[in-house]
């Protein structure tokens, strides 16, 4: 018989939960005074151990400190002392839930397997305060608490503690791995799958979500062989993580499901969602494509795919995605709004208007969406030169948000453009009045948002149309001072001088415009605003100049 203790024997190391429990009990019975015990178990197992010990140690007073939220200041010592102050005759204290104080830390995520990064032990950055507290205060623990402290912790937390509170851990009377029985695991799984409560999990406090995430983690660790169970658990955990805003970890969980169950379209679409939140748009689109290839009827997936494509400026593909989405469900106004906006960006105005109308036909619940629909539809109509209808749309938008600079600006533009279009049919005075109505709106917009240079530019153009050249120049100057790099504003200013016959200033400003963009030279060649200046030799030279910079 070999007594070579230094050898590791596989059969020696199978954990017998009953034996481990008896060891714990022996330790608790025999220790006089201070003692430190670590039990490695799941949240469910922990409950059972507490009950058994309370029954088996009838002659000792057993209490439980249940931490159901992270300890904000990390002062574990104080929490324990406060607990014992209220129950001074305690001889054995179980401490549950310390792991909740660890969950937010990077190293936890690596230890839980939620991150693909490795752990490097020698960085002490970002060690959770609870571990520092335990380690530094350990003498105080010994001197203040003449009782047995039993920490119930899941595996990752024990490992974390071993590394980051090594002096504290060194004082242990023992560490006892207690795994859950199969029966317990099955029972908890069944409970979990029947739990309809998750739909509400957005409203839970974060600590409740964290507790649940950890409970599922322990089930995951006990279900290694059963793929269906594992996928269910990963997926549920992923959802909780996603709801908690932890998309990186959630995507890791979903990815695992897709590897085990490649035909699980829900996993693919959830993965796409997480990747979308992480701004990994191309990856998200790939995931969405997988989901759709399994089940082409997924409305949200088509929709999100469209949004992702739109953000990548792949507008044509986005339009196709939005089309598919609305074929599946035609009654979601937000979807029509997204579609309309996308079409607007690629100048398919007729279709955009149709989309916006569809949005309006369905019951829009919130004012913000309604406002956007009217605003953007108005813009599309304006681009189509359907001035009356555009103005009507802008009015609707303004009735919801009367102080919107965009709506005011755009309505002003519509009024001015309408006036210009009808100029030949009305008297000069009426024309000027119509344009002035537009200018009024520009002014109102600028009084709300004075740095909107587009509006200054629009105002300048309008003023130019009714002959108020000096004021127009002022407006263009304002625009230029806010946005000096825009060649249009400078060119417009040059046009003003041109229409006044002020060749000298026209040439100077036009030169600046050409410096900003050479096409100004071409534009000036045929622009009637410069007719009064064409005789000027400098002007001729400027137009003739092919870039030798005279």
């Amino acid at each position: 018989m070999t007594t070579d203790l230094l050898d590791w024997h596989e059969d020696d190391q199978t954990v017998d939960p009953e034996a481990e429990y008896r060891m714990l009990l022996n330790g608790l019975r025999r220790t006089e005074g201070f003692g430190l015990f670590f039990v490695q178990c799941s949240p469910f197992g922990g409950e059972q151990i507490i009950q058994r010990v309370q029954a088996d140690l009838a002659d000792q007073s057993v209490a439980v400190l249940k931490l159901d939220a992270p300890i904000e200041d990390g002062n574990v010592f104080k929490r324990i002392r406060d607990c014992l102050d209220t129950q001074p005759e305690t001889q054995v204290l179980f401490i549950q839930g310390l792991e909740l104080s660890l969950l937010d830390y990077e190293e936890s995520k690596k230890r839980l397997g939620w991150s693909s990064e490795k752990i490097f032990s020698y960085s002490w950055q970002g060690v959770p305060p609870v571990l520092i507290n335990l380690n530094q205060q350990r003498e105080r623990f010994r001197d203040s608490f003449n009782i047995r402290l039993v920490f119930l912790l899941p595996v990752f937390a024990v490992k974390y503690l071993v590394h980051r509170a090594p002096d504290f851990f060194d004082w242990r009377s023992g560490i006892f791995p207690c795994s859950d029985t199969d029966e317990l695991v099955v029972r908890k799984l069944v409970e979990l799958s029947k739990n309809k409560d998750y739909g509400d999990c957005q409203n839970w406090p974060q600590s409740k979500r964290n507790s649940e995430i950890l409970r599922i983690q322990s089930l995951i660790e006990s279900s290694r062989d059963d793929i269906n169970k594992l996928c269910f658990l990963y997926g549920t955990q992923g959802n909780l993580l996603a709801t908690s805003g932890q998309h990186e970890e959630a995507s890791e969980r979903y990815t695992r499901v897709t590897k085990l169950q490649p035909n699980n379209h829900k996993a693919w679409s959830n993965l796409g969602g997480s990747l979308f939140f992480l701004k990994r748009l191309e990856d998200a689109i790939m995931a969405f494509n997988y989901a759709i290839s399994i089940n082409s009827d997924l409305f949200e997936v088509w929709l999100l795919k469209g949004v992702a494509l739109n953000q990548l400026n792949r507008h044509l593909e986005a339009a196709q995605s939005f089309d598919r989405a609305s074929q599946i469900k035609a009654e979601v106004p937000e979807a029509w709004l997204l579609q309309g906006d996308n079409l607007l960006e690629i100048e398919r105005y007729e279709e955009a208007v149709n989309a916006y109308q569809k949005a309006l036909e369905n019951n829009i619940k919130d004012k913000e969406t309604t406002y956007k629909v009217w605003l953007n539809m108005g813009e599309a109509l304006r681009r189509l030169s359907h001035h009356e209808r555009a103005i009507e749309s802008f009015n609707h938008a303004l009735s919801i948000n009367s102080e919107s600079p965009e709506a005011l600006n755009n309505k002003g533009l519509a009024l001015v453009e309408k006036a210009i279009a009808e100029a030949t049919e009305v008297s000069e005075d009426n024309f000027k009045n119509d344009v002035k109505n537009g200018i009024c709106l520009y002014e109102k917009s600028l009084s709300i948002k004075p740095d909107k240079h587009e509006t200054w530019n629009n105002k300048g153009i309008a003023l130019g149309k009714i002959g108020c050249i000096e004021e127009a120049i002022y407006s263009f100057d304002q625009a230029i001072s806010i946005e000096p790099c825009s060649y249009e504003y400078v060119y417009n200013k040059a046009c003003c001088y041109g229409s006044q016959g002020n060749a000298q200033d026209a040439v100077q400003v036009l030169k600046e415009a050409i410096n900003l963009h050479p096409k100004c030279r071409e534009m000036a060649k045929t622009d009637p605003d410069f007719d009064l200046a064409r005789h000027d030799p400098h002007f001729k030279a400027l137009l003739a100049d092919q870039g030798t910079g005279a």
Partner: protein
């Protein structure tokens, strides 16, 4: 009347350093390369004309605190007044994650105030009052440091240091108030100390301060790659050394091997190091004297309850088991006690069945699950070469006691240092694989 197992179980507590003169103490100097704190640190103090500052390092649980308490008793017997305190964690002093040198100075101050009651604290009083006033104005403390009573000052100051501990935002503010004034604090302290030395009780002539547990300071790297250990022990050494008395500080073992080890030597001289008890030779043979020492550690603790005890007969099934147990501990005293406790937990009656000793809990993840080049690889390589590379991963392994240091005098009387992986780690499969990988050409 508790039964014997319970008594023994409680006698092998891993968390109390032995008081000096405790019969359970075993002299292990010979197996620790003659590391004898009385001879290494003591004479420096007794013979020197200047004030000394020395460093003491060693693995966690090797027995440093026990040795320092022995030194304290010895120095006291030789005419010194010794102020010993655990600087980190003891009763409200430092527990901040980012311990700075000011925290250590303040802790020293507090303990000196407490222990040197006869001295005139006037210089410190005015220092505290000024700081207290500033803090009070900031709303940081309710306490107004008006009193002239040293005890009051000490406790008020303790309150101040306690609040350094708890709230990080307060910590910063208190630091900002104290840091610029540490030089004046040292000056005030020295005035206090000078006066105290004339009034030492019992006719003592020397004052010695021992700050234990500084090895537990977490090494924090700031954004410039500088280390809090560096800052405390090196960059600010003028302050730590500036006290007009002898000081001994414990220092983390990883620092003794760091890339600033030479600087450390220049400032403080060679740090004293407490290695493990050598139970095996570098060649892998059993080293009987070391094993015998470890056995004695157990025997002496058990003797009060079983006066005629023989380990191999009464406690364990045979001698071989005892030897193996001592080897498994790697010469680490606390580890031995832990193994003992675990075995006792699996036992209902003596002698402890061998199965109970074999079935020990796995070394709780002292190694991360890497292989090859990672920590396991490093430990593997070191176990074969008996040497360590002086880099971060190896220092970390030393810090975590995966690698341990041993010392002995060879036949020519030269001191040899060598390193080996923790024996319990050597047994696990990943380790064996790493060694195989390392040996493969």
């Amino acid at each position: 009347m508790a039964d014997v197992i319970t008594q023994i179980y409680n006698a092998v507590d891993p968390f109390r350093p032995l008081e000096p003169g405790d019969p359970a103490y075993v002299h292990c100097e010979a197996e620790r390369g003659d590391a004898n704190v009385l001879l290494d640190l003591g004479p420096e103090i007794l013979r020197s004309n200047r004030y000394t500052s020395q460093l003491y390092a060693g693995h966690r649980g090797a027995g440093k605190s026990t040795e320092l308490l022995r030194l304290k008793a010895d120095l006291e017997a030789k005419g010194c007044f010794v102020v010993y305190f655990a600087a980190v964690g003891d009763d409200g002093d430092i527990d901040a994650q980012d311990v700075q040198y000011t925290d250590i100075l303040l802790a020293c101050t507090r303990h000196l105030l407490e222990k040197l009651q006869g001295a005139d604290p006037a210089p410190l009083v005015s220092w505290f009052k000024d700081r207290g006033k500033a803090l009070h104005e900031l709303g940081q403390t309710q306490v107004v440091m008006e009193s002239l009573d040293v005890k009051m000052l000490a406790s008020q100051f303790a309150e101040m240091t306690a609040s350094i501990r708890t709230v990080p935002s307060q910590r910063r503010k208190i630091r900002d108030l104290v840091n610029p004034h540490t030089v004046t604090l040292v000056t005030a302290l020295n005035q206090f100390i000078t006066d105290a030395k004339t009034k030492l009780p019992g006719g003592k002539t020397q004052l010695v301060v021992i700050a234990d547990n500084l090895d537990r300071i977490v090494p924090i790297h700031d954004d410039y790659g500088r280390n809090s250990h560096d800052e405390i022990f090196l960059d600010r050494c003028d302050q730590l050394k500036g006290l007009d008395c002898h000081v001994i500080y414990t220092v983390p073992i990883s620092m003794v091997y760091s890339n600033r080890a030479n600087d450390l030597k220049e400032v403080y001289g060679n740090p004293e190091l407490l290695p493990m008890v050598m139970v095996q030779t570098p060649e892998g043979e059993i080293h009987p004297p070391g094993v015998a020492r470890m056995q004695e550690v157990l025997t002496r603790r058990i003797q009060p309850y079983l006066p005629e005890v023989q380990l191999g007969r009464d406690i364990f099934e045979n001698e071989a088991v005892v030897t193996q147990l001592c080897l498994a501990s790697g010469g680490h005293v606390r580890e031995l006690l832990l193994l003992m406790k675990e075995a006792l937990n699996r036992t209902e009656s003596l002698p402890i069945p061998t199965m109970a000793v074999r079935r020990r809990s796995p070394p709780p993840a002292t190694l991360s699950p890497h292989s090859g080049k990672g920590p396991v690889g490093g430990a593997g390589a070191s176990s074969q070469t008996r040497a360590i590379q002086n880099d971060e991963p190896h220092r970390d392994l030393l810090f975590r006691r995966c690698l341990m240091e041993y010392r002995y005098f060879d036949d020519e009387g030269t001191l040899q240092c060598w390193y080996d992986a923790h024996p319990l780690i050597k047994a696990i499969p990943e380790f064996k694989q790493a060694v195989a990988d390392w040996q493969a050409p």
